[in-house]
Amino acid sequence: MSRYFPRRVAAPAVALSAAMVLSACGAKTDTGSSTAKGVEADTSGDTVKVGLLNSLSGTMAISEVTVRDSIRLAIDEINADGGVLGKKIRPVGEDGASDWPTFAEKAGKLIKEDRVVATFGCWTSASRKAVKPVFEKSRSLLFYPVQYEGLEQSPYIFYAGATTNQQIVPALDYLKSQGKKSIYLVGSDYVFPRTANKVIKAYAKANGMKVLGEDYAPLGSTEFSTIANKVKAAKADAVFNTLNGDSNVAFFKEYKSAGLTAPKMPVVSVSIAEEEVKSIGPQYLKDQLTSWNYYQTTKGAKNTAFVKAYKAKYGKDKPTSDPMEAAYTSVHLWKAMVEKAKSFDPEKVKAAADGVTYAAPEGEVTVDGPTQHIHKTARIGRIGADGLIEQIWDSGKPIEPDPYLKGYDWASGLS
């Protein structure tokens, strides 16, 4: 009951503030800054504003605050280096509050009131889907830093995280190469796990793998003894885990209690990075597998410098993770695109995007112009007792993004 009441209060509040935003932008329209082409960003002064749109409160805060921190780190570095096209960057932060309508409202505010040149943020697919029409209508750019379920390609979003063929498909390839013939699917009950599992089932069918079961628990659920029993009884070779957030804590505790271990039946997770390992407790996750494009332990001078700079700014005990690295990289990629375009104009930036490269902590990444995704190297990792993830396999070279899985025959039935 208590969950629904605040929405009733929130609805008029949102409507009221939306009306205020609209009237404010109406006032500006008269001055001619907003045209039929969309909302023009303000690039007149010595500084340009960029929007930071993350949840600083609510259930997603634990993850999204770390992304905000790494975006700020990248902005500080760029400003120390002289800025972009001679202008310093001024970040304008807004709190999405883990609430999808709030994300849409704040996106509108950043674009129309602050007149930012680009926005960085969002985490859940639900928040991305909520802001997508706002950015498309205003013709303003969003840089999205998290891995997601694919099957999307907005002309005004740059996807800096992995799409399916850069994370889930390589994880399945890895399981296959290890001789795993049957898998069990466990996920949270919302869009990302259900879409991801559709892809996994299509892959399994084409590759002679058996899917022995598929179970979903409501987001935030903490009762996993039945699912653990089902997984145990199925005797699968491996478990593919798309649970999100705190449910992982309960799931892995129950998994261990049921006597299941990584050598017996490994769990591959796609939503557990260093930050989550720390909060679940490494003792429950030891030797389990993850699939990402970056780990804190990824080799390379650029990553050593990134980890060092992050810890110096935010504390020795703070780990770095894949979404943080993607967010940090997306800011630097944006700078490179703007400098190539010699303009902050979104259309010119988009036109210049193809082939832009950046030596990121995960290795050199390249922007794919047509899909507005990034070429990324897939990495399978094993969780250690110290909470860090050690890479045990990688794809060797960056994988070309394929959000609609057009290059895979088995995926032809997916939409």
Binding site: I62, T222, E223, T226, A233, K253, K256, A258, G259
Partner: protein, 298 residues
Amino acid sequence: MTVILGQSFTGISIGAVLLLIALGLSLTFGQMGVINMAHGEFIMAGAYTTYVLQKALGDAGLSLLLALPVAFAVAGTLGALLEWLLIRRLYLRPLDTLLVTWGVSLMLQQLARDVFGAPNVQTRAPELLTGNVTLIGGDDPLTVANSRLFILGLALAAVAALALVLALTPLGRRIRAVVQNRDLAEVSGISTARVDRTAFFVGSGLAGVAGVALTLVGPIGPTMGTNIIIDAFLVVVVGGLGRLKGTVITAFVLGVLQAVLEYSTTVSVAKVLVLVGIVAFLQWRPQGLYTLRTRSLV
């Protein structure tokens, strides 16, 4: 075969959790008729007490054992304060009590958020409780988790303690007297106000103990109370107001039902089916499984 046995044990352990979270409520709501929406936040207070003790002491086993009495006292004190400050002014006004205690629950959630931060936290379980016992060996072993056995034991101990207090002690006698006929109890020389406060202390304290047990199952967060309060009320309502026996039986029946349905369908569908079952049951028996027969006119 082991699957069926394993799943039966899962049902019993879900039942034990339900019993623990509903036990305190069966006293405050079932016996005294107070709809306390902040009951879930008392459970949260018990969980955070475990977290704080573990931070301070370091040793997981010692802090868990110590947390049981401390959480009882912390949550009990919160309950007694709530009773003294607000609820006693609102007896016989159930709707006002509901709104007021709901407001208190929101305040307690925000307080937890301010003190402990918005993200959820975890405690470490003692080494002894992270393992499991093998009941049947062989190729297809049946194992039960130590932590679940601990929760089951704790739930049964709490029920036994509460039943003994109600049946044998002077306090229990006075509580039963007030429940059965408040006016008659009062003219017989019982300070009903004091009995109310003590009963509320005990009921809320039991919520604190449930909170300690829940740290072994999942994460601790400001909103954990809202997720369980509905289950707690369901158990008490289906069991029948005012009867401990009803609460105990209902908790285990619902637990096993949930486990069976989860296994044969999915977690989400099982939740729906259990709720539909409860609605149908209450149509047939609106007063619940067991009812308290009194000669009181109210």
